[in-house]
C-alpha cells in the first residue's frame, strides 16, 4: 500500500473580498444601473472610500498547493489561523469546489469536519445513529451491522432510546464521534474534532485514529494540538497564507511551524557595533542547540537542550558571571542558573578574550510549551558597574513526540506540574493477594 492515494495538483481557491453582491436582486440592479450612468455606488457606506477596484478584490485562501499522500499514511496539516487549512479540508470533503487545480483520490473519502452533523434533537440516540450514518455515506445495512459496536464505543447504551436533546453535551459528542469512528473509509479527512470530550474520551479517540492508520487507511488530520499531531502523523504539511511552506517528517515540520507561528528565534548574533555591552563584556551571540550541535527551536521533551553564549571580555580581572534565566509564556521564571556556581564564585575573574559558555538543561525536566530565555551578565561588584540583561533574547519550544517513554507515557490530555522530571521510583510487591504477612516473634 505505498501507492499514491491522494494527489493534489496546483490547487488554488480564491474568495472575493467584501460584499459579493448587495444580497438582493433589487440592490444588484440598482448598483448596476448607477454604474452604467457613472454615478457612485448607492450601497457604498458613507465615509468609505471608493477605490474603484471592487472587481479585482480577491483573496487567495489557497495558492498552488501541491502534495501527494501515499496509502496508509497519516498526514498532519498545520498552520496559523487563516493559513488555508480549513479551505483545503473543505475542498477535500467536497463542500466547496476549488478555483483551479485538481484533487484526485483513490477510494472512499469521508470527512469529519464536525461530529454529529445533521443530528436532530427530537430523535433518539438510536435514530440519530442511523441518520448521521446515512449523512456520512453509510448504507442502512452498514449502520445496522455496526450498530452494537457504535453504541458500545460511545458508552451511552442506557440512553440510546432517549431523544438526544436530553443528552449532556459530553454524551452527545461521544455518540457522534462513535458513528464517525465506524465509518471505515479508505481516506479519512479529520478536522479538530478531537478537541472535545474529557481526557479519557480524547484518549479513546486518539487510539481509534491510530487504529485507523494502522489498518492501512489514510488519514489527513488538521489540528492545533501539536501533541496529537506528533502522536498520530508520520508526515506533515505546513501552510501559510495559502501556500505550502514545508512538508516532510513531522518533527522537522513542527520545528519550522513553531519558529514561524510563535516567532521563535533559536539564534541571535550581533556585530561589534550592535552588540549589547557595558564596556567590560560584550555579547557576540546566543543560540539553542541539541546534543548533535544542531541549532533548533523545537526540542523533544526527553532530550537535553544547550543554551550557548558567545561573548568577549574587554577588561581583565573583573568578577562577573553570565546567567541563563528561563521563563514560561506567563512570564514565570522557571529557573535562574549562573555559570559560576561553585564556592569560590565571587572570585571567578576572567582574562580578556572571547568566551564560549554553554548551559545544559537536562531532558525530562521541563513541561511542553514555549519558553523565552533571558541572559544576564552580573557581578562587576568592584567597579559598581551595571550588568547587562537581554530579555527574551531567544525562545524555544518543547514538545512530546508521544513515543511513550516520556513521563507522559501515552496520555494525551492535560498533564499537571510546573516541571516534569523523570524521577526514580522503586516499587515492589510487599504482599501477594490473599497471602499472609509473616510476623517475627510471637
Amino acid at each position: 500500500m505505498s501507492d499514491t492515494v491522494i494527489s493534489i495538483e496546483n490547487l488554488s481557491k480564491s474568495y472575493q473580498l467584501g460584499a459579493i453582491g448587495t444580497g438582493t436582486f433589487y440592490g444588484d440592479v440598482k448598483r448596476w444601473w448607477a454604474k452604467l450612468r457613472g454615478q457612485p455606488d448607492p450601497y457604498q457606506k458613507i465615509g468609505e472610500k471608493d477605490y474603484k477596484n471592487r472587481e479585482g478584490e480577491t483573496v487567495w485562501a489557497l495558492r498552488d498547493v501541491d502534495f501527494s499522500v501515499r496509502g496508509g499514511e497519516a498526514i498532519g496539516i498545520i498552520g496559523r489561523n487563516g493559513a488555508g487549512k480549513s479551505t483545503l479540508l473543505k475542498i477535500l470533503s467536497r463542500v466547496t469546489a476549488p478555483t483551479s487545480g485538481v484533487v484526485k483520490a483513490r477510494g472512499r473519502v469521508a470527512s469529519l469536519l464536525e461530529v454529529g452533523t445533521g443530528f436532530h434533537s427530537e430523535l433518539t440516540g438510536r435514530e440519530n445513529v442511523f441518520l448521521n450514518g446515512a449523512i456520512m455515506g453509510m448504507s442502512h445495512a452498514e449502520v445496522r451491522r455496526k450498530f452494537d459496536e457504535i453504541v458500545d464505543f460511545s458508552g451511552v447504551e442506557k440512553f440510546i432510546d432517549t431523544p438526544v436533546k436530553r443528552y449532556s453535551s459530553g454524551m452527545y459528542v461521544r455518540l457522534a464521534f462513535a458513528v464517525a469512528a465506524h465509518l471505515e473509509p479508505e481516506i479519512l479527512v479529520v478536522d479538530e474534532v478531537l478537541a472535545v470530550g474529557d481526557a479519557e474520551f480524547q484518549k479513546k479517540c486518539l487510539g481509534k485514529m491510530g487504529e485507523v492508520t494502522q489498518g492501512g487507511r489514510t488519514v489527513l488530520f488538521v489540528s492545533h494540538n501539536m501533541t496529537a499531531i506528533s502522536a498520530l502523523c508520520d508526515r506533515a504539511l505546513l501552510l501559510d497564507r495559502g501556500r505550502t511552506v514545508a512538508q516532510g517528517e513531522v518533527e522537522s515540520i513542527l520545528s519550522t511551524y513553531f519558529q514561524m507561528a510563535l516567532q521563535i528565534r533559536p539564534e541571535v548574533r550581533w556585530t561589534e557595533n550592535t552588540a549589547p555591552t557595558n564596556g567590560i563584556v560584550r555579547f557576540a551571540g546566543i543560540r539553542a542547540h541539541d546534543q548533535q550541535d544542531e541549532t533548533k527551536s523545537a526540542f523533544d521533551i526527553r532530550h537535553p537542550i544547550a543554551i550557548e553564549l558567545d561573548y568577549e571580555v574587554l577588561q581583565p580581572d573583573i568578577w562577573f558571571t553570565p546567567s541563563v534565566i528561563l521563563k514560561d509564556m506567563n512570564n514565570v521564571v522557571i529557573f535562574n542558573s549562573p555559570a559560576d556556581a561553585h564556592p569560590n564564585w565571587d572570585n571567578a575573574k576572567k582574562e580578556t578574550g572571547t568566551y564560549h559558555s554553554t548551559c545544559w538543561i537536562p531532558g525530562n525536566l521541563l513541561v511542553e510549551g514555549t519558553y523565552s530565555v533571558r541572559v544576564v551578565f552580573w557581578g562587576f561588584s568592584r567597579l559598581s558597574q551595571k550588568g547587562i540583561a537581554m530579555d527574551d533574547v531567544i525562545s524555544l519550544n518543547i514538545f512530546d513526540s508521544m513515543e511513550g517513554d516520556s513521563v507522559r507515557g501515552k496520555i494525551t490530555g492535560a498533564f499537571s506540574g510546573v516541571v516534569r522530571p523523570k524521577l526514580e521510583w522503586i516499587s515492589e510487591q510487599v504482599k501477594p493477594a490473599g497471602g499472609r504477612i509473616e510476623k517475627n516473634g510471637t
Binding site: I20, D28, V95, T96, A97, P98, T99, V102, A105, V109
Partner: protein
C-alpha cells in the same frame, strides 16, 4: 474536462474547479438512496414528535381553507363549480394544489435552510429536495384520505358524482406535481443563494399561480384574454384531470396531461442543471 495523462490512472474521485454541465452525479444520488429515505423518515418523525395533535394537523389546514373558499367563492361570489357541491369542488382543488405548493415552497429553501449541514459534509445535494418532495407525499396521502372521506359522504347522501377510470392516473398526477414542484423549487433555491429576496417572492408567487390554476373555478368558465395563461400553466391539466377522475366533471381534454408532463420534464431538467452549477460553490456565497 477529462485529464489527459500519459499513463491511464485509476482515480475513484476527481475534484475539478467546475464540473461539465452534463455531469450531474446522478449515480452518486443512487448510491445515497438510503440517505434520501432517512431524510424522509426524519422529517416525518420529527414533525410528529413536536406536535400534540400529530398528523391531525394535516387535516385541519385543508378543511379550514376549503371552508373559507366555500363561503367566499361559493356563497358570496357565487362562482360556478360545474354543478358540483362547492365544498367538494374546492376540497378537490385544494388537495391537489396543496401538494404542489408545499413541494415548491419547501424545496425552494434547500440551500439556505440547510447551510449548516451542507457546509460540513458531502452528499449529493439533490438528496435534500428529493426527500422533501417525497415526505410531502405523506401529508398529501392524509389530505387525499380526507377528500375521499368527504366524497364517500357526499355519494352516500345522494349527490351525483362519479369516479372514473382516470383515477388510475393518480400516480402520474403525483409524479407530475412532484417533478414540477421540485424543478421550480430548486431553480428558486439556486437563485436564493445569491438573492435572498426571491425567498419573499415565493410565497406570493405561489399564491398568484394558484389563481392561474383552476382551483377555485372550473376551466369551463375561463374565456377570452386570459385563457392562454391558464392553459399554459402545467398545473391546470393536473387539477382538471383530478376532478375528472374523482368527481367525473371536466371540460378539458385529459390529453393536456401530456403537455404537463413535457413541461415538467423541461423545467425539471433546467432545474437540475442550474442546481448542479450552483451546488459546487454555493457555500462561498450563502
Amino acid at each position: 474536462m477529462e485529464l489527459k495523462t500519459s499513463n491511464q490512472e485509476e482515480w475513484s474521485l476527481v475534484i475539478h474547479p467546475q464540473r461539465a454541465w452534463w455531469d450531474l452525479h446522478l449515480g452518486d444520488l443512487w448510491r445515497y438512496r438510503d440517505l434520501v429515505w432517512m431524510f424522509v423518515w426524519r422529517d416525518f418523525v420529527a414533525y410528529y414528535k413536536q406536535t400534540i395533535l400529530g398528523p391531525l394537523w394535516y387535516l385541519v389546514q385543508p378543511i379550514m381553507t376549503t371552508g373559507v373558499f366555500t363561503i367566499i367563492f361559493g356563497n358570496i361570489a357565487q362562482l360556478s363549480t360545474d354543478g358540483l357541491p362547492p365544498f367538494l369542488f374546492y376540497l378537490a382543488g385544494n388537495t391537489v394544489w396543496g401538494y404542489f405548493s408545499a413541494s415548491l415552497t419547501s424545496t425552494s429553501t434547500t440551500f439556505t435552510s440547510n447551510a449548516a449541514i451542507l457546509g460540513k459534509v458531502y452528499f449529493p445535494r439533490l438528496a435534500i429536495p428529493i426527500s422533501v418532495v417525497i415526505s410531502n407525499i405523506i401529508s398529501f396521502a392524509i389530505r387525499l384520505g380526507v377528500f375521499l372521506g368527504f366524497l364517500i359522504y357526499y355519494v352516500a347522501v345522494g349527490v351525483n358524482v362519479s369516479i372514473t377510470w382516470w383515477a388510475l392516473s393518480l400516480p402520474l398526477l403525483i409524479l407530475i406535481m412532484a417533478g414540477l414542484g421540485l424543478g421550480m423549487g430548486i431553480i428558486v433555491s439556486s437563485l436564493t443563494t445569491k438573492y435572498r429576496d426571491l425567498q419573499q417572492l415565493i410565497g406570493f408567487g405561489v399564491q398568484l399561480m394558484m389563481y392561474a390554476t383552476p382551483v377555485i373555478y372550473p376551466i369551463s368558465t375561463v374565456q377570452g384574454n386570459w385563457q392562454w395563461l391558464v392553459l399554459a400553466n402545467p398545473m391546470t391539466p393536473v387539477v382538471e384531470v383530478f376532478r375528472l377522475a374523482f368527481l367525473g366533471v371536466s371540460s378539458l381534454s385529459p390529453l393536456y396531461l401530456l403537455y404537463s408532463l413535457g413541461a415538467t420534464l423541461v423545467i425539471l431538467m433546467i432545474g437540475i442543471l442550474i442546481f448542479n452549477r450552483v451546488e459546487a460553490t454555493f457555500m462561498d456565497t450563502v
